[in-house]
């Protein structure tokens, strides 16, 4: 892969000798790398260090005690409500992904591939909503959810976020590229409308669906404001809220315990990043350059 990319960009390979600029760009790139990675690295070091050692003796520049880190992680999982918050956050993310993909793909299938009266104004209305800031809808949506008796429930967390205009946009962009002949062929073979959606278009859109699922996971896992207002009961706390409480000014936890709570919240997105890095980057780049 490295070789292929090198060959494709001959414009940068004109000079064989190392120039002033070559040195400079490495220095800059490595310094930025340090600035970016250090907070995360430091968080890990604080967790994996004997608690109570003053920074003058152990500045936490390296992890020093694996054992201490493990015992803090186990302590948090056993003695606090963290595990339940984990469970809630995972359920919240998974259900939102399923909902966004299901209703989004069905609508995108129609908007991208068929014509019917009212299609343009409907789609236009949804796209217009991308311009409306969350600030204007969040309080009235909260009041509606409260009215429905959905405060502190999973449906209250999930359902209002299911009609994702961004998700619809992403899927429509992708499905527009599906050739019409494939749909006609399936129709000639006697497939019904829903069968075409499920057996022809959905498999072809797999890439876009996976990208949207990953982006939705990131968004939901990182959503702080909505759970904060709609699920204020301790029984329904998400990871974000628990992390917020650990960090609250009057929290009785010590720094290294707080950092352990932070680290545990970072693990799922970091794992996702390691596995799906390319898809995440593509999804974001796509939303920016085609928007």
């Amino acid at each position: 892969m490295t070789l292929a990319l090198d060959a494709a960009t001959p414009r940068r390979r004109r000079m064989a000798s190392v120039t002033y600029w070559d040195v400079l760009k490495w220095v800059i790139a490595l310094s930025v790398t340090v600035v970016i990675l250090f907070p995360i690295w430091w968080m890990i070091n604080v967790v994996f260090a004997e608690p109570g050692t003053p920074v003058s003796i152990n500045p936490r520049l390296l992890p020093t005690s694996l054992e201490a880190g493990w015992s803090k992680i186990l302590m948090i999982l056993r003695e606090t409500e963290y595990l339940r918050a984990y469970y809630i956050s995972v359920a919240y993310a998974l259900l939102t992904i399923i909902g966004v993909l299901a209703v989004g793909s069905m609508a995108a299938f129609e908007f991208a591939l068929f014509d019917f009266p009212g299609k343009r104004p409907l789609f236009g209305l949804v796209m217009l909503s991308l311009m409306v800031p969350t600030a204007v809808t969040i309080v009235p949506t909260y009041l509606l959810v409260a009215d429905m008796g959905w405060l502190n429930t999973m449906q209250g967390l999930v359902v209002p976020g299911m009609a994702s205009a961004f998700g619809l946009f992403l899927l429509v962009q992708f499905m527009k590229g599906i050739p019409h002949e494939m749909i006609e062929a399936a129709r000639l073979d006697g497939a019904g409308h829903f069968q075409i959606y499920w057996h022809v278009v959905m498999p072809l859109a797999k890439n876009a669906l996976v990208t949207l699922a990953i982006l939705t996971f990131m968004r939901t896992w990182g959503n702080f404001m909505w759970p904060l207002i709609v699920a204020p009961n301790a029984q329904m706390y998400t990871v974000g809220q628990v992390v917020g409480l650990f960090n609250a000014p009057y929290s009785h936890h010590t720094v290294d315990v707080v950092m352990t709570a932070n680290l545990l919240a970072a693990v799922p997105p970091l794992i996702f990043f390691l596995i799906f890095q390319r898809k995440i980057v593509e999804g974001i780049a796509m939303s920016g350059t085609k928007g």
Partner: protein
């Protein structure tokens, strides 16, 4: 309605129904509440424009807007310049290292914003926080970054750029890849230096992407909430940090809704913010149109 269209409507129905209930209806009801005094316990009482005038005349609003203006004027240009610099930097490497640096610079984007805030909160901590520790090595006395009104805003901006630079970088990188190579060839044949190539080829060709990144950056900066909320250890009854130095409009709105339980005012606040965003976006598009005509 002819029946042959029915399957189409059935397929878009779930989405459109949810969209109507959880997006269109809240906008309409919010508009209604914004002219009423309402605390959820008693019936809404019509008050005309009182909610709007009360917000616009309040000291918190003034403070929040002033903070916001300062914050935006610094964070949007600085953030985009940083992202552009990073994109050009990543683009100047090839193959393996280009991918490595892109991944590293992008890493903070996948972390939830609440986490970035809580990690940095401790980095900024007096005495044992990493930043003060490093300052200590140089004999500089400990600074309480998050409780000193002179540094709070800059502390927020640093976190903000750490979080968002990678996001904008990825979008700008995609834009860079779309610039045809022969434009650089031509510029080089004309004797353009590396800097001139950036100035006269890269920047103009990137204009549409830069426009998107700026507009999007502004809209999200206007709604900043998670990071200042957590950096100041806010709650619905006490928020904004020392002397309200990190009070921002959405925080003010949320406080009015869930601290003071004035839902009418909170709804009106949302519309004021939307008006600002719409006005700004319109100006941006107008400028863009003018630019395109030239």
């Amino acid at each position: 309605m002819p029946t042959r269209h029915l399957p189409h409507y059935l397929m878009v129905l779930p989405f459109m129904l949810l969209f109507a209930v959880f997006f269109l209806y809240p906008i309409a009801s919010g508009f209604f509440y914004s002219f009423h005094d309402w605390n959820a316990a008693s019936d809404p009482r019509f008050v005309g424009l009182a909610n709007y005038t009360r917000i616009l005349g309040s000291r918190d609003f003034e403070r929040a807007m002033w903070n916001l203006a300062t914050y935006i004027v610094i964070t949007v240009p600085l953030g985009i310049l940083t992202a552009l610099g990073l994109a050009l930097l990543v683009d100047s490497f090839t193959g393996f290292w280009s991918n490595v640096f892109r991944s590293v610079f992008f890493l903070p984007v996948v972390l939830p914003a609440f986490l970035a805030a809580t990690i940095w909160r401790w980095m900024y901590a007096p005495s044992f926080g990493l930043i003060n520790m490093v300052l200590g090595w140089f004999g500089i006395p400990s600074v309480n970054f998050l409780n000193d009104t002179g540094t709070m805003l800059y502390a927020l901006i640093a976190v903000d750029i750490w979080v968002s630079a990678g996001f904008n970088m990825v979008i700008l990188l995609a834009g860079l890849k779309n610039i045809p190579t022969d434009l650089y060839e031509a510029a080089r044949l004309d004797g353009a230096s590396r800097f001139q190539q950036i100035r006269y080829v890269t920047i103009p060709m990137l204009a549409p992407v830069l426009f998107f990144v700026t507009t999007y950056g502004f809209i999200s900066a206007l709604q900043v909430f998670d990071v200042p909320w957590l950096l100041t250890g806010s709650s619905f009854t006490q928020y904004g940090g020392r002397q309200n130095a990190l009070l921002f409009p959405v925080m003010d709105m949320m406080g009015r809704a869930f601290g003071a339980v004035r839902f009418g005012q909170a709804a009106a606040y949302g519309f004021i913010l939307t008006a600002i965003i719409v006005a700004f976006t319109a100006v941006m598009f107008a400028l863009r149109g003018k630019e395109a005509q030239r």
